[in-house]
Symmetry: C2
Subunit: 257 residues, 2 copies
């Protein structure tokens, strides 16, 4: 892992790094220690490690919670060279759009293939961050849509991930991986998602193996996740890193008085 | 409205009141003003206005958010006299349990009937609280299970309710009322609810008319709502009383790079 640039502003340090073909960014609060929580951010399709939503989320996690945050470009995205396969994916989607066919299933298939390349890259990144002293505390993952297509198989096979926010993805290509995720999951579903059918998203939530999972569904299309879910994701990570959740009964089950 | 007792401890005032047949309780922070938010709590079947979960919720809303809180006994519950109809309901449920039949549909029917009696009582209570200077700010409603069976028809016809938390109820007897609710709703669904089929709960969430609605689904049975949903309900009320929610895109919809 080679850090290629570093800048510090407003108490936040941003370092770009390269690890083989991987291009990444590490954000740390200025008073960083190796035992603070680290959240890995998986960006969505067409975005990259420093897209505005990623930077805003990273800064929020740092300033509100004191987390360190890292992101890498997915294969074919950001500073990564595109392979012939990446070009084929983009062309396939354009073709479907040109003839007015649904693109959701094709995106799911493309993402499944991309995930096979991306998961080992995330693991190598986490290894390197750990070696560099940046992953000594709890580690979480946040990624929706393509970020979940990559993040769910990653979390299923990476024991260092202790909590994850996923969503905007369906069960077709991900149900087996979800069944192997044994950590707390917060799952985001858009009630009117034009790319992921509602039943497919609900079935993926159902498939997560661990009992500590919670579904947040909101009206709107694929890109319309409400802003308040950012704050909600902070509390999810904090909740699972501070203590085990308690359960309480809020009423009795039936009116036998 | 006649206040029959008052006690103050730890900065919290608790007043019991009677209004015709209605028995209620009003909790206010010691520094109460008539413009602070008021949350009405609708208890579940078999519970009452001062059941432990109700008191804990009221204290949390007061101490964490500065809300005033009021609750009344539902017909046939708490300090209320039971009618022949209430006795019939209880006997009907016991009979179904004795023969191992599902009780969910019968509870839904009983609650629909009870709601017809309870909604005018809530309206009279809110009128009286307003006259007494305790409802000059925003007003919200929290109630799940039977609390929703009563609260949803109440919110559908009461313009003073500006935000509501509902849940653990199905669409069969409530879909028409839900379609008339035009305020923000947070809806709780238990993924393994033995009384409300999952599809019925999802259909009820779908039926709420207003776009500002959010579904929180968690694994577990009817009474197993996780404790963190208490904090979540606070933030829901605060969010809608502080500002209109913003929306943000968290990624682009497809990988056309």
């Amino acid at each position: 892992m080679r850090f290629t640039s570093q800048s510090t502003a407003d108490g936040v340090s941003e370092r770009l790094f390269i690890l083989g073909d991987i291009h990444g960014v590490l954000w740390t609060p200025a008073d960083s220690t190796d035992t603070r929580p680290l959240v890995l951010l998986g960006h969505g399709g067409g975005q990259h490690k420093k897209a505005p939503g990623m930077v805003a989320r990273a800064h929020r996690y740092m300033t509100a919670c004191g987390f360190a945050v890292a992101a890498i470009d997915a294969p074919g995205h950001g500073d990564r060279a595109k392979t012939a396969q990446d070009e084929q994916h983009a062309a396939g989607i354009k073709q479907l759009m040109a003839v007015g066919e649904p693109i959701g299933p094709q995106i799911a298939r493309d993402n499944a293939e991309r995930s096979a390349r991306a998961v080992p890259e995330w693991r190598a990144t986490l290894d390197a961050l750990q070696d560099a002293g940046h992953a000594g505390g709890p580690v979480g993952f946040w990624g929706v849509s393509m970020g979940s297509a990559i993040g769910i198989p990653f979390a299923a096979t990476e024991p260092r991930i202790g909590a994850a926010v996923f969503g905007l993805a369906g069960h077709e290509t991900l149900v087996e991986a979800a069944a192997q995720v044994t950590v707390p999951v917060q799952f985001l579903l858009q009630w009117n998602d034009e790319l992921v059918p509602r039943d497919s998203g609900l079935a993926l939530f159902d498939a997560f193996a661990f009992r500590e999972k919670t579904l947040h569904a909101n009206p709107g299309h694929h890109t319309g996740v409400p802003a308040f879910e950012l704050e909600s994701s902070q509390r999810f990570f904090l909740r699972h890193w501070r203590r085990r959740p308690k359960r309480m009964a809020v009423y009795l089950p039936h009116p036998l008085v």
